[in-house]
């Protein structure tokens, strides 16, 4: 089975539009302005998802999908935000779970309308089921089984109140894969790639199994990077989250956020080429740098800290890309580190701009690495060139 990454992009845009409709419905209901922050499609194994959701408590509703699309969709609020949500609703806290069910129903209805329009068939929703769940139990049934699922995830953000929530949709794999593959033909036909006559459309289809393999590779890369930090700093490290997602590139800066960050960025050369950014929030950056220096630096993020972070970035990046290169059977090298210290989204935006010359959607591997003892955390964003990665994945399946 081959997955066309362009078709996956189209589906992703649909999920984004559906999330926009859900936000609009909630804006009307609550009078609070909501916007869609991030929409992404994950290709993740059940084990990865369980790890990613560990420790979260969620409240929300789930609905079953029948008709044009089968599967399950879930809308979840962080349990800590539920009081804020209830206070916005007519009837307030006294409404409790029925209010949550109603909100979920309206938002999910809006979300699915977008998909139904695209597919040109009706999608029926079963009545909403209220739930309170720990960890990955929030995910639709079946997400944790099997070795790879598509999960669409949208995060909505209330600009005036603390009311973030997520919508997860897990389409029935077999049917959805057919849909993604089915869309390949029309997308590829009338010169989707400008009719350049090269490998154009063909080069965007990759075997599903390779994507799934790459997702687990990405995880290995993150583990290597974490091990390298441990060796360098003597601190115990762990990887909190590591996921391979397919996202609109323009969403990535918003995801990094507006907090000041310090870290390093690298250009990758080889197959695939691309960029890698390792970003720490300021406090974490200062702590991890101090742990590497023989004495307390004069300035928390001055020249000495900069050198330490560059050195750390170097070893992390080698750890990260070694994993890819081994499995893809290609050679990948990286540039010397370039230090950044700025608003997080501003620091990553030039990388996004460069990649966006050739693609609007991209694979993003994001990993959160945490150190014990000295409380510090960093996010790694790996941004490979889509076409080159697709080629490499394709070869992987042939060998």
């Amino acid at each position: 089975m081959r997955v066309d990454v362009r078709a996956l992009g189209a589906c992703n845009r649909l999920a984004e539009r559906g999330a926009g409709q859900a936000a609009g419905a909630l804006t009307d209901l609550t009078g609070t302005d909501l916007s869609v922050e991030v929409t992404g499609a994950s290709v993740a194994s059940g084990e990865d998802l369980a790890e990613a959701f560990a420790g979260r408590e969620s409240i929300g509703v789930s609905v079953g999908l029948r008709g044009g699309l089968e599967g399950e969709a879930v809308l979840a609020f962080d349990a800590a935000n539920v009081d804020a949500l209830l206070s916005l609703l007519p009837g307030g806290a006294s409404m409790g779970r029925s209010a949550v069910s109603e909100v979920g129903n309206i938002a999910l209805g809006g979300f699915l309308d977008g998909w139904a329009n695209y597919l040109g068939t009706a999608i029926d929703m079963t009545p909403p089921r209220y739930f309170e769940a720990d960890g990955a139990a929030v995910l639709p049934d079946g997400a944790l089984a099997g070795d790879g699922v598509f999960l669409f995830e949208s995060r909505l953000d209330a600009t005036t109140t603390d009311l973030d929530f997520s919508i997860y949709m897990l389409p029935d794999s077999g049917q959805f894969r057919d849909l993604v593959v089915g869309k390949t033909a029309p997308a590829a036909a009338p010169g989707a790639e400008g009719g350049a006559g090269n490998d154009g459309a063909g080069s965007t289809a990759v075997p599903y199994e390779s994507l799934s393999t790459f997702a687990s590779l990405a995880k290995r890369g993150s583990a290597n990077a974490a091990d390298n930090i441990a060796m360098m700093t003597g601190l115990e490290t762990s990887v909190d989250v590591s996921r391979l997602r397919f996202v609109p590139l323009a969403d990535v800066p918003a995801e990094v956020g507006v907090e000041p960050h310090a870290g390093t960025v690298f250009e990758l050369q080889g197959e695939p080429s691309g960029y890698l950014a390792i970003l720490f929030e300021e406090e974490s950056a200062a702590k991890i740098a101090a742990s590497m220096l023989p004495s307390e630096p004069d300035e928390p993020l001055g020249g000495m800290a900069e050198n330490a972070l560059c050195e750390l970035g170097n070893v992390m990046t080698s750890g990260f890309i070694d994993g890819w290169a081994n499995v893809l059977g290609t050679s990948i090298s990286h540039s010397p580190p370039e230090y950044v210290h700025d608003i997080g989204s501003a620091a990553i935006s030039p990388l996004i701009a460069k990649l966006s010359r050739r693609q609007d959607y991209g694979f993003v591997i994001d990993a959160a690495i945490r150190t014990e003892g000295v409380q510090a955390r960093c996010d790694v964003y790996a941004l490979p060139d889509e076409r080159e990665l697709t080629r490499a994945l394709d070869r992987l399946s042939e060998s």
Binding site: P253, D342, A346, R357
Partner: protein
């Protein structure tokens, strides 16, 4: 379609606290009421804020690259490029009641954040100046270049508040 903030603007102006319209990367939006248009984390990207003072109609663009390529002309997501973004923003402002010959511009961003990315920031700014000049829109003030990220708020009074990553704030 591809720039949701402008299409959602109607709903926002009905909301009781119609305060803020967020403009994401590669997006543009128009405001006709008292809303503040905001965009955050401008690195090498450039923000172009246009206002027609006599009608109060305002628009904000957050563009990522100077101009489109052969394979991507910016038709689908006009806000991605400075070229198509400015053109589309002026058209949307006109549709919302602004007169193109009364527009004035404020420009922010276009920082040179990284050596790795061959000066995309300064090229974005140069392109914006060029396109605004060609459209006959004067640039009143600018906070551009350097190696610093910025966040902007385009107020109802037509002034652009630019806050740099180091906390320094300027009103253009």
């Amino acid at each position: 379609m591809s720039h949701p903030p402008s299409s959602r603007e109607g709903a926002l102006s009905r909301a009781p606290d119609a305060g803020r319209i967020k403009v994401g990367v590669s997006e543009l939006a128009v405001a006709t009421g008292g809303e503040t248009l905001t965009t955050s984390g401008l690195g090498s990207c450039v923000a172009v804020a246009l206002v027609d003072r006599s009608t109060g109609v305002r628009g904000l663009l957050h563009a990522m690259l100077p101009n489109g390529t052969e394979t991507d002309t910016g038709m689908e997501r006009p806000g991605k490029y400075v070229d198509t973004g400015i053109e589309t923003l002026i058209a949307e402002l006109e549709a919302a009641g602004a007169a193109p010959d009364r527009l004035e511009a404020r420009v922010a961003g276009g920082a040179e954040m990284l050596d790795l990315t061959d000066a995309v920031g300064p090229r974005n700014v140069a392109r914006a100046e060029q396109r605004l000049d060609a459209a006959g829109v004067p640039v009143i003030e600018r906070a551009v270049g350097d190696g610093v990220g910025r966040t902007v708020r385009f107020r109802a009074d037509g002034r652009l508040v630019v806050r740099a990553a180091d906390g320094f704030e300027r009103t253009l």
